[in-house]
Subunit: 390 residues, 2 copies
């Protein structure tokens, strides 16, 4: 058996960044920018007023000065002429500064009488002008890779980047295996249960940025598994759930082996989680998850999501852990790294007593997996622990 960290390193070896595709800006949020893009123009594209007021020359920006208003500059409609000594242009926030003017007296500091204005209060020294290119210049780059957020989308729009190069979403085939499984909405027989992992993992992978495809449930036979693997062709990753060791036979491993699986590893020293196997199968990475619902979901967070991130070009990273203080005592951990369901609130982690890997109910009320290293000694109330938020 190998450690969680060793397993993740081997899993990262199975995948790499996918190709780049272009999407319209309206579909780019949450996608991963695949390569640097550059602004198509300066922003602002011209010196712009940052206030409503009157554009004049700085040299004349003094209390009691008088000006003749010769025109108006509004957002979208600049003033075509030039401002000379003793002249002012009515100007609004965001509007282009007229030629010859480099100062905006705010309207609150001005009294107006027809076409004449007088600066009635000290106009100060702030010119209230946003310089052309002050936000960014044409050619300014947005660096990649990065997961695009709403504010990045706004900036890309502002840069006039209408089509965005992003990493293609990894296609992940999900194959649940087992004679005992039926799909939600079906009527299970007395010995059957509902396939729950497929749906949980599908949601998780979609959230992570992948394009999951749920395949028909594979039954516990070579023929059925081979059909499923066949349907998975074209996927970037194939994930089987359950059946990694079905009693006396490792049916999934055998079927995958027959189809050319180059096995990278088989078991990981972790709870919940083993068995888990992985390797290359043709052009795809193949990961075999345990069938216990909690094990499958925990392995999803620990291994599949980081693999998706790697395929999206975000790099091969260990999921970031946070720290909290444990509530109550925790017994010593055994030789396997243990991911314990817990609720973290206000920096305090309450670990559930029942860590049975079949208990989905406990997982659904948890918001954290507290990480216990192998052979971690017993912890007293208040001890610092690391956890993965889920």
């Amino acid at each position: 058996m190998i450690t969680v960290e060793q397993a993740r390193a081997l899993l990262f070896d199975l995948v790499g960044p996918l190709a780049v595709e272009e999407v319209p800006l309206s579909r780019a949020n949450g996608r991963v920018l695949a390569r640097e893009v550059t602004a198509q123009r300066d922003q602002p594209p011209f010196d712009a007023s940052s206030m409503d007021g009157y554009a004049i020359k700085t040299t004349e920006a003094q209390k009691d000065s008088m000006f003749r208003v010769i025109g108006e500059s509004a957002a979208g409609h600049g003033f075509a002429g030039t401002v000379k000594a003793g002249e002012a242009v009515r100007i609004f926030t965001g509007a282009p500064m007229p030629q010859g003017a480099d100062f905006v007296v705010i309207q609150e500091d001005v009294s107006r009488n027809g076409d004449l204005i007088t600066i009635s209060d000290d106009p100060g020294t702030n010119p209230n002008v946003r310089a052309a290119g002050g936000d960014f210049r044409a050619g300014t780059a947005m660096s990649a890779p990065r997961r695009l957020r709403p504010q990045d989308i706004a900036l890309l729009a502002s840069m006039n980047v209408a089509r965005v190069p992003v990493t293609r979403k990894p296609v992940i085939a999900l194959i649940s295996t087992g004679d005992e499984l039926v799909m939600p909405g079906e009527e299970p027989g007395p010995d059957q249960i509902i396939a729950s992992n497929t749906f949980g993992l599908r949601a998780m992978l979609e959230e992570a940025g992948a394009e999951p495809r749920v395949l028909p449930i594979a039954r516990d036979s070579h023929a059925s598994l081979e059909t499923a693997f066949d349907l998975a062709r074209g996927a970037d990753m194939i994930v089987t759930i359950g059946g990694a060791s079905v009693g006396d036979h490792d049916l999934v491993g055998e079927a995958a082996g027959n189809l050319g699986l180059k096995r990278s590893f088989y078991k990981i020293a972790m709870r919940p989680g083993k068995p888990l196997m992985a390797g290359r199968m043709g052009d795809a990475a193949m990961v075999g998850l345990p069938g216990n619902p909690v094990s499958a979901i925990v392995c999803g967070y620990l291994f599949l999501v980081p693999m998706v991130h790697a395929m999206l070009g975000l790099g091969a990273h260990t999921p970031a852990l946070l720290t909290a203080r444990v509530k109550g005592d925790l017994g010593a951990n055994g030789p396997r790294e243990h991911y314990m369901r817990a609720v973290v609130k206000d920096g305090v982690a309450t670990v559930f007593d029942n860590q049975d890997s079949a208990m989905l109910g406990v997982l659904a009320v948890a918001n954290a997996l507290v990480v216990r290293p192998p052979n971690d000694p017993a912890l007293a109330d208040g001890a610092e622990i690391s956890y993965l938020p889920i």
Copy 2:
């Protein structure tokens, strides 16, 4: 002018939870569960083995006991008969316990010879049986409201809830206003800029769980604004961006007023952000955001996202703030609540020097808005500050 908190309270008055709709489980992740749902069955539906081994009677679970193997119980295929004294059934993880058996000797503790097995090691006292209903019972409820996560989806599947009652997504019409705006991909005139807020807010609202609809840009005329408001009919919320005060005229306010806007408030004492107006307009809530890119996005996080959450039935909540230590000194704050762009890393907040509300570039590299209360005194390096992660 009113405070941010007063504004949010008034905004919450404009919206309420929307109707319930049913979606298939495969589309339910990230949606808000609108009402309690209950498990359709026990899980496990039967006493199930938690290990691979042999099912026997507890009374006979002793080292050196011998048994005749009378059949097999696998996942999906239970054993139909009854286990009597001196008998064992080969059993696999997750398989139903046969009648008469209540203990599973793990296979590692057994030596087998044809149909006969002998317990070769101390089998311990753990029966390795998961009791029927141990995870949940038929009728066990998943409480609402809650934003469904992957582990909730897995649990719902396991409960055999194939269609999920969720709150309808609020439809939000986005109207950018201004003669100076063109859409990304268009060729702007010399006095024009690209409409960036629409795209940023669209991404933000979609992420928050709404269904944003981008309407054509409204020009700075009553006719154009009325056309846009007309196109917005049927939306749960109408958001205008920019033009809340265009020079001498409050065109958006006037046009909205002509169409029946019942104004709730007009300005908020915050930076960046004012002017911002809000009210009811027919069946819809109406919010007018400032046109400065940063102001619009910040107002989106502070006001629109909480309003979406309220419409989704998650309650009327102030966005949750985190705390960090400020790096370097920060000057005293003025009379308006200030949301300062910053980068928070390892608990330390580095606040950008340039807080100009037109600087999208600064927003796109920020991951936090540090909150300065009105008249907050100057802060020394290391002082604790609150921030909103973005």
